[in-house]
């Protein structure tokens, strides 16, 4: 527990966290705009999604690590993090194979950024979660199964 951090964020609540970062110059609105790839976010299968990023078939890499629960506590907000240890990582994409639109997030990393991102994704059913990384112009990926269950009946 870090009450100070929580209080600071609460104090800034009226502005909203993202607004706060934007005001501080951490995120520029046009950064999000520039990264928008309509074809990718509307892709209905993995092949189409890879194609939308011109990624071909990315090679599996142990240098791409996904942090996600083995079983989701709440399918509506599943925390997924991706760390890339590949030098010159410029993009990280998170895809949920069984979602109707599989591309959940695409991060464009300016040069010199630590390649460590986290977000929350929505999952309707048990699925492989893919992390695709573009580093030095080449594409790599990792995957991890996240189970979504009905719950109950434990213990």
């Amino acid at each position: 527990m870090n009450p100070q951090r929580r209080d600071t964020l609460k104090a800034g609540g009226g502005l909203g966290v993202l607004g706060l970062f934007a005001a501080a110059g951490l995120i520029k609105p046009e950064m999000a705009q520039a990264a928008w790839n309509k074809t990718a976010f509307e892709a209905k299968n993995m092949e189409a999604a890879f194609a939308a990023f011109s990624a071909g078939k990315p090679a599996e890499s142990a240098d791409v690590v996904i942090t996600a629960p083995d079983i989701a506590e709440n399918g509506a907000v599943v925390p997924v993090g991706v760390v890339s240890k590949l030098p010159a990582t410029e993009q990280i994409v998170i895809m949920i194979e069984k979602n109707p639109n599989m591309v959940a997030a695409s991060f464009t990393l300016p040069e010199g950024t630590v390649a460590d991102v986290q977000t929350r994704v929505k999952m309707g059913q048990t699925s492989d979660v893919y992390a695709m990384v573009k580093a030095d112009g080449k594409f790599y990926m990792a995957r991890k199964e996240v189970k979504v269950t009905l719950g109950g009946c434990g213990g």
Binding site: T126, G151, G152
Partner: protein
Amino acid sequence: MSMNRREFMQMLAVAAAGGMTLHSNFARAEQAAGALYDLPPFGNLSLLHMTDCHAQLLPIHFREPNVNIGVGSMRGIAPHIVGEGFLKHFGIRPGSLEAHAFTHLDFVEAAKIYGKCGGFAHLATLVKKMKASRPGALLLDGGDTWQGSGTALWTKAQDMVDACKLLGVDVMTLHWESSYGADRVKEIEEKDFAGKIDIVAQNVKTTDFEDPVFKPYVIKNINGVPVAIIGQAFPYTPIANPRWQTPDWSFGIRDEDMQQAVDAARGEGAQVVVVLSHNGMDVDLKMASRVTGIDAIFGGHTHDGMPAPTIVDNAGGRTLVTNAGSNGKFLGVMDFDVKNGKVADFRYKLLPVFSRLLPADPEMAAFIDRTRAPFLEKLTEKLAVTEGLLYRRGNFNGSWDQLIVDALIAEKDAEIAFSPGFRWGTSLLPGDTITMEHLLDQTAITYPWTTLTEMSGEMIKTILEDVADNLFNPDPYYQQGGDMVRVGGLQYTCDPNAAMGRRIDNMMLKGKPIEAGKTYKVAGWAPVSEQARDSGPPIWDVVASYLRGQKVISQRSLNLPTLKGMDSNPGVAI
């Protein structure tokens, strides 16, 4: 209280003279007790471990499973061995005290000879005896301590909180405790337990910033040896139990965080690092193979009474994995010999707590009487008499759950009934009176509501497949540790080795196949969704009404699935 062997035997004699009914074979058991509980001390650091007592303050019967299937790499290895195979594996003599404690074999006959197990007053005597011969020994409680009885539910766990303080618990971790709500858990931690009992759980974090909710570990100095106890709460609490009870807490297995906790504790000077875990044994075994630097994992959750630890090799050395059963039946005693800053050797014994062989501790007995007094009238209400053995534990329907689903179908006018695959719940012998207290032993939870739902055949199949995967997924990290949902009315075939979605087949109702598009009236209880709060009367009212009407409960015939591919599985003895 310090007690040597002679005094202990004298107490036994006094207890026997005090009017206990003794079977002729009991004299043999009494002789064995001296040897059983006179455990020679060893080494310089001892840890006592209890787990999953499920609020059973009084002695009980608890029948161990005859079906405890292991699939994939877990097939045929401890804890997935039952019956005679279990005795052979652990070198236990058939017909002995220990054979009765650890297996289902000849359960009724042996229960009559050896009597009940557990009870906090008897456990207290054993704890004191072990502490007397092992100076500085710590008592660790693996959780599932506050839930499982009427009195625990009605006092919001206060009876168990006070009992654990009196018993001398030093450190605990959590599972069902959280079902009283986050505020109640924190209240107990901050008020009742302050300065007395540490709650440890490295894998519980806030959902927003992943800040720790509890201490990840504590370090205690015992006889000059710093020992770290790291907590691992049940990773799937908000999935197996209602999410709304702990909305701001996130759990999970978190291997990397566990490794960091181990390294941090070693960095602080801990010479011995142990994990007090509510993972369940299969998850503990996998974790022990992946995380390095843990000397022992003291496990619970899956209620596996394991007479010997499993030794797991990993990149950093080896880790002992124990599991200490349930319902107050056992006390684990781990003696470490720590030399030159590390564990050089160990001795481990999982002692069965036979209530007739351990005189009641007067102080604890008086406390229990005081605690129960206001509720006695309610607890002792006689509901019916059972003609057959009533038990719950096992991968599929036990006779207690059969009775519950029979009652649900009758009282709710349903075609099919589901009852959760809980592993707690005590056993009753043929001829025993079923009291309200016994019924609450099977049902006392904070979300006891019953439900009646129109469900499609497709949905029924989805539910059975989902629960089967929580039990039989070959990767332990995807298991939740309960047993298969108990089913009334519906027959099916189950192939535990099959893939998710393909384990359940041939679903039949009254001789006709279940149709995917047709709807059926399905009764159940213990709903986890917030929308289902107060959906119907609590399960104990529904079953009590059925029992009062029946008066005599005939031997239940178990609605077991037809198993496929299990003929030679050492986890099955039918």
